[in-house]
């Protein structure tokens, strides 16, 4: 039998490869994406991911919370004019894969919605975050940030402008110090310093299965003051009242609950 020349064999191979149906399939090949296609072999570059937002909802012992209103906490009338704190290093997912190290939020009691950014799809077992900022950030120069960054100088200020760094929690208002029901005493808690950084962690059991991935977290402002007698313990700037500052920092991470 006459053998085909080599160039004819190559030409036939090219012809068959063009005519026969391909085994490859275009699609999203990232298992962490919402639209992951396990059959896809060719990246289509159209993967979509959940965008995580936290909805942080304040209350006082279950009552709706509004700045400027008077509440009774531990038997003491108190009005909050400022109630805000830093949240950082938000973790969402499994224990070993939780960190969003560049995430910093300035949570204010009159703002509830905070977009954090893209996360992977799937079941989210844990939610964790710091109340405050890590030591390296705490001692960095705040003027290096763009004005839009929550770590840049704020109004009202969230930074002491010296070594103490950021005020992790800033609470200001008026409190009843003499039991007459009138909120006419100073409430001023500026809580910070590295030693008062605290981490909240909870089993969240959230499903990141849509582009809008919103986790609603309630925080009970009354719980910031567990075992605090606001009629007598209403002022600390941390350095001048380290025990009270530490107690409120401890309390803060007991105040959060995740809606399921």
């Amino acid at each position: 039998m006459k053998r085909l020349p080599i160039f004819k064999l190559i030409a036939l191979a090219i012809l068959f490869s063009a005519v026969l149906p391909s085994c490859e399939k275009a699609g999203c090949i990232d298992p962490a994406a919402l639209n992951y296609d396990p059959d896809a072999t060719d990246a289509s570059n159209d993967c979509t991911f959940p965008i995580l937002s936290l909805k942080l909802m304040p209350n006082v012992d279950g009552q709706n919370f509004t700045l400027g209103e008077t509440y009774t906490i531990n038997g003491t009338a108190v009005r909050f004019d400022i109630f805000q704190f830093y949240v950082s290093q938000v973790g969402i997912g499994d224990m070993m894969d939780m960190e969003m190290p560049e995430t910093y939020l300035l949570v204010k009691a009159d703002e509830t919605d905070y977009e954090l950014g893209q996360v992977t799809a799937g079941h989210k077992h844990m939610l964790a975050f710091n109340v405050g900022v890590d030591s390296a950030t705490n001692h960095a120069d705040p003027t290096l940030y763009e004005a839009s960054n929550v770590l840049a100088p704020q109004n009202p200020s969230m930074h002491w402008n010296w070594d103490a760094g950021y005020q992790f929690i800033k609470i200001e208002g008026q409190v009843d110090t003499d039991g007459d029901g009138a909120v006419d005493g100073l409430l001023e808690m500026h809580i910070g310093k590295d030693s008062n950084l605290r981490r909240f962690m909870v089993e969240a059991h959230q499903e990141a299965d849509a582009e809008d991935f919103i986790i609603t977290v309630d925080y009970d402002i009354a719980k910031f003051f567990t075992d605090v007698d606001l009629s007598t313990e209403s002022v600390t700037h941390t350095g001048d009242g380290p025990e009270l500052a530490s107690k409120v920092a401890d309390n803060a991470i007991t105040a959060f609950t995740v809606q399921k």
Partner: protein, 328 residues
């Protein structure tokens, strides 16, 4: 010429400007300068304008210069500094003499850089009383500063430029041409009186141990020390940073240059004269538990106290104090 700053879309643009020429006294090194704040003429000039501008205070009445007066050795004569509306601050204003050589700032060392300390007094409610974010807005609306910021830093006026420019200016405040300096350099053997020469010898002696804290070319080793001023300190000094009880009552050792001008003395301005200061050390301090071991009774007689005061007075640098570069 200095070519500085890398261009990027939103960051600083490339600027080309004259480098600052240091005019250093003999034996003085250039102060270390941060990478993002290299010295140029434009930066120093902008810093000087801002240093003397009261718009840095909330009510536009008080500038940095309000507590750092040339005739007071770039400190002031109030025991405790006065802020806006006559508010009384917390401490005696420190001198800015040779401030560029310090490794940390404020009397408790609570600020790591000359740049970062700038916002301290501006935002202190007892001093200039302003909010940094609001100050940034005020500066942006100022007709003069925006082009100067662009020229000096290639970026818009704001807190970065404010803090860098003032720090650049303050680094130029170098004093090293006092009678003492001219004497020890051999330029003028008559620069020190006989009393000052005796005081110099006492100061340098192991009998007084002055140089254990006030050593070096700036008459400070910048350590933190408890000098036994009180047996109980209301202002806990370095403790405010470390929360370590061993640091209660410790403050950064100040330079002694121009000290004769910067009365009253100590962190709280509680001693009115150099005689009182020397006598404090002569008596050996109040015996606070953290008191420096170098502070102990010295047994100086009145003439020796006077000699030490004469020496300290010889550290006044009139050329520095009267330098137009440091005048409004």
């Amino acid at each position: 010429m200095l070519i500085g700053l890398i261009a990027c879309q939103q960051g600083p643009r490339i600027v080309q400007q004259a480098a600052f020429e240091w005019d250093l006294p003999a034996g003085f090194a250039e102060p270390s300068v941060p990478e993002n704040n290299q010295m140029t003429v434009a930066r120093v000039q902008l810093g000087k304008m801002l240093f003397f501008d009261p718009i840095l205070s909330v009510d536009s009445t008080l500038s940095c210069a309000g507590c750092h007066l040339a005739q007071a050795g770039f400190a002031d004569h109030n025991p405790i500094s006065r802020g806006i509306e006559g508010r009384i601050g917390e401490r005696n204003a420190p001198t800015l003499t040779n401030i560029g050589y310090h490794p940390y700032f404020f009397r408790e060392g609570g600020s790591p850089s000359l740049e970062q300390q700038v916002l301290g007094p501006i935002c202190n409610n007892l001093e200039m009383g302003f909010n940094a974010a609001l100050l940034a807005e005020r500066l942006k609306n100022h007709p003069v500063y925006e082009p100067l910021a662009q020229e000096a830093y290639g970026r818009e006026i704001g807190l970065f430029v404010l803090t860098r420019a003032i720090a650049a200016y303050e680094r130029t405040m170098i004093s090293g041409d006092s009678p003492y300096d001219r004497f020890v350099r051999g330029e003028d053997p008559q620069a020190l009186s006989a009393a000052a020469q005796r005081g110099l010898a006492l100061f340098m002696s192991e009998r007084t141990n002055c140089t254990q804290c006030h050593g070096g070319i700036d008459f400070s080793l910048y350590d933190f020390a408890n000098n036994g001023l009180y047996d109980s300190f209301l202002d806990k000094g370095r403790y405010r940073v470390t929360l370590d009880s061993a640091d209660i009552g410790k403050f950064k050792v100040p330079t002694l240059r121009n000290v004769a001008l910067s009365w009253p003395y100590m962190h709280d301005g509680s001693l009115n004269s150099l005689e009182e200061v020397v006598q404090h050390y002569n008596e050996g301090g109040k015996g606070h538990v953290n008191q420096s071991t170098y502070v102990r009774p010295l047994g100086l007689n009145p003439n020796e106290v006077a000699d030490l005061v004469a020496f300290l007075e010889s550290l006044t640098d009139k050329k520095f104090i009267n330098n137009p570069a440091f005048a409004p």
